[in-house]
């Protein structure tokens, strides 16, 4: 069975051809790799390929299909795309069209200032909220012109990462 795997923007068809102890044969987009793979501990792989030593630390991020991967040299993002992933991605994509309408907290923090009220007209680039996290204050600006429809936060309140704070129409 072959899987679509996306790493740093490149997507390839990857198939496990054979696995015999540490000796593993994998086909990536038609090219066959004969590598020696040792699992050091949970999520930590040592791969030898043409004598070259690669150390890969896989950190599951969110679900078993997405990983942050560290080698000694680089940080990668890897995603195994199966049918379920594709479904969610399509769904997410349609949501992203609305992205300009919402202000989402990228990190947890505390609301220092709310500079708008429901019904206010805002211009693109106008500061609407100030959030404080780890001694730093960040301004959140409108991404497009519009009217404030919802404000889900109050001054002094803590917000979670990915929480929708403001919606603009």
């Amino acid at each position: 069975m072959s899987y679509e795997i996306k790493v740093n923007g490149r997507t390839a068809n990857v198939m496990l051809v054979n696995k015999n102890g540490n000796s593993v044969i994998v086909n990536i987009d038609g090219v066959e790799y004969n590598v020696n793979v040792a699992k050091l501990e949970k999520g930590n792989y040592s791969i030898l390929h043409n004598n070259k030593s690669y150390n890969m630390e896989l950190i599951e991020s969110g679900n078993i299909r997405t990983y942050e991967v560290n080698s000694f040299k680089n940080l990668f993002k890897a995603e195994i795309i199966d049918s379920e992933t594709k479904y969610f991605r399509n769904r997410q994509h349609s949501q992203q069209d609305d992205d300009e309408n919402v202000i989402i907290a990228p990190i947890p923090g505390r609301v220092v200032n709310v500079l708008i009220k429901p019904g206010n007209k805002v211009k693109k680039g106008q500061t609407m909220l100030i959030i404080s996290a780890m001694k730093m204050e960040s301004e959140f600006k409108a991404k497009k012109e519009g009217v404030v429809k919802e404000i889900n936060v109050n001054e002094g309140q803590n917000v979670e990462a990915n929480q929708v704070m403001v919606v603009i129409e």
Partner: protein, 501 residues
């Protein structure tokens, strides 16, 4: 004799202070907020006391609660670390009043150096160079023109009540003076409700170079040479080194003497830092004094061979300094870099979160001062500093190559952090050549923020590892195992039934 110390701080500096205490058989007490129950300083200390809710104002800045904790644990002394209450004269005073030794300077020294205008005036009296200009309120355009012609262009107009770049105007030509003063005034009025401004010489391409000093209560003051702190982002240091790549031995000696003078002016006792702003011609000007231990103190410890926390405690015990100026030397070169939980790609936005994995660098001449561990949730309430990686080399090139090696060995997974950015910095020609000033990050923005080159084979190896991991996880959650569990579950119910009989 101090036998038990409360460390009124958190994170790496609290652990670092406790390490030195442990080495000299001093018992330690940690204080912690709600968010810090699982912090390493709580686990490292001999005792730990809860002092309030997560926001600093309700815990690490709450003097009453800290004093109460000190009483409850019957300590002899309180070490404030850096940040929080470390430069708070009221806290220093309160400690004295309650009968605790404050491991830091007197309230008087803190408040004199804390007020920038009074500090400036004292430096003038002591003969320490200050940035040319005036802190007097500018009352008329004519006065402003007169002052500026004395100082020479370029100058900077600053709001007296100011901060954060607001109410500031850079003036390079005479014709711009009047309009700049007006706009600075009006911006200042809006931002701070106060339109007074003052004028200072603008130092182009400045370096931040600071001198470490130690002063005892017997009038002895020494300096432990400089630290070059010009690699900054958002006016915060990220890499420091000593010796400075630009200082000459003569200039070093001269600045060291001025640093000692500055400390003597306020009858300083304890460890402190005199910050100078230095231009390309090595003209230097007093900027401010930090009346506490600095984040970057380890590089001084390494090249001078001194444990600064132990020196602080020695001074607090009322002892004379054992170190003599003429015996001190800078041995080799040391560099520190700060690893922050932040996203360099997104304007250094802080990035709290859970540390999923951490690999710290090892081997010769690498020191790590940190406090997070695998599984630790970095709180959002405090400074995003995760760890400091400090290296030493027999000379600057060796120190840089060792830092590169150490950064390559370092891994922190789970939170965005500045490791990739630091790796870029140490490969930047301006850094390698020592030809940098405080504009370094801006000047090298393109190099620092560029995309990493693609390594297709490495990507393919990532795909292989990801596939194997995924397949193993699929396998683990396969019906086979579930069936096994289900059977056990059946057995379990059967046993239960038997037991009921």
């Amino acid at each position: 004799m101090i036998k038990k110390v409360l460390v009124a701080n958190r994170g790496e500096i609290a652990v670092r202070i406790m390490r030195s205490c442990r080495e000299i058989n001093i018992r330690t007490v940690a204080v912690y907020s709600d968010a810090d129950r699982k912090s390493m300083h709580v686990c490292y200390a001999d005792e730990a006391v809860h002092i309030g809710a997560s926001p600093s104002s309700e815990s690490y800045l709450n003097i009453d609660n800290i004093i109460e904790a000190a009483k409850a644990t019957d300590v002899d002394a309180i070490h404030p670390g850096y940040g929080f209450l470390s430069e708070n004269a009221l806290f220093s005073e309160r400690c004295h009043k309650e009968g605790f030794i404050f491991i830091g300077p007197s309230p008087g020294a803190i408040s004199k150096m804390g007020d920038k205008i009074s500090a400036r005036e004292m430096m003038i009296k002591a003969g320490v160079p200050i940035v040319p200009g005036t802190r007097k309120k500018i009352t008329s355009d004519e006065e402003a023109i007169k002052i500026i012609e004395e100082i020479g262009f370029p100058v900077i107009i600053k709001a007296s009540a100011g901060g954060g770049g607001k109410g500031m105007r850079l003036v390079k030509k005479k014709k711009d003076i009047t309009s700049s003063i007006r706009s600075a005034r009006s911006e200042s009025k809006i931002a701070f409700g106060n339109d007074s401004v003052y004028i200072e010489k603008y130092i182009d391409s400045p370096h931040h170079i600071e001198f470490q000093i130690l002063a005892d209560n017997h009038g002895n003051v020494i300096h432990l040479f400089e630290r070059e702190c010009s690699v900054q982002r958002r006016h915060q240091k990220i890499i420091e080194e000593t010796p400075s790549p630009i200082l000459t031995p003569e200039k070093r000696e001269e600045m060291g003497k001025h640093a000692i003078e500055a400390a003597k002016t306020v009858n300083y006792a304890g460890a402190g830092t005199i910050e100078f702003i230095v231009d390309e011609q090595l003209n230097y000007y007093f900027l401010e004094m930090n009346t506490r231990l600095q984040v970057e103190h380890p590089i001084t410890e390494r090249v001078v061979g001194v444990d600064l926390v132990k020196e602080q405690i020695n001074i607090a015990n009322g002892n004379e300094l054992a170190l003599k100026q003429e015996e001190l030397q800078q041995f080799g070169h040391s560099i520190e870099c700060r690893v922050y939980a932040e996203d360099p790609q997104n304007n250094f936005m802080p990035a709290p979160g859970r540390v999923v994995h951490i690999t710290e660098p090892r081997g010769n001449d690498v020191r790590v001062d940190g406090y997070v561990y695998k599984g630790f949730e970095i709180p959002l309430f405090y400074d995003p500093l995760i760890a400091k990686v400090i290296v030493w080399g027999k000379d600057r090139p060796e120190a840089i190559s060792r830092l590169k090696r150490a950064l390559r060995e370092s891994r922190i997974i789970g939170v965005k952090n500045s490791l990739p950015f630091l790796r870029r910095i140490v490969n930047t020609p301006d850094f390698i050549n020592g030809t940098y000033n405080t504009h370094f990050i801006d000047k090298n923005h393109k190099f620092l923020m560029g995309k990493a080159p693609v390594d297709k084979t490495a990507e393919d190896m990532v795909m292989i590892a990801a596939l194997l991991e995924y397949l193993e996880k699929i396998e683990q959650s396969s019906p086979k195992e579930l069936k096994y569990i289900r059977n056990n579950w059946k057995d379990y119910t059967r046993v239960k039934n038997v037991m009921k009989i």
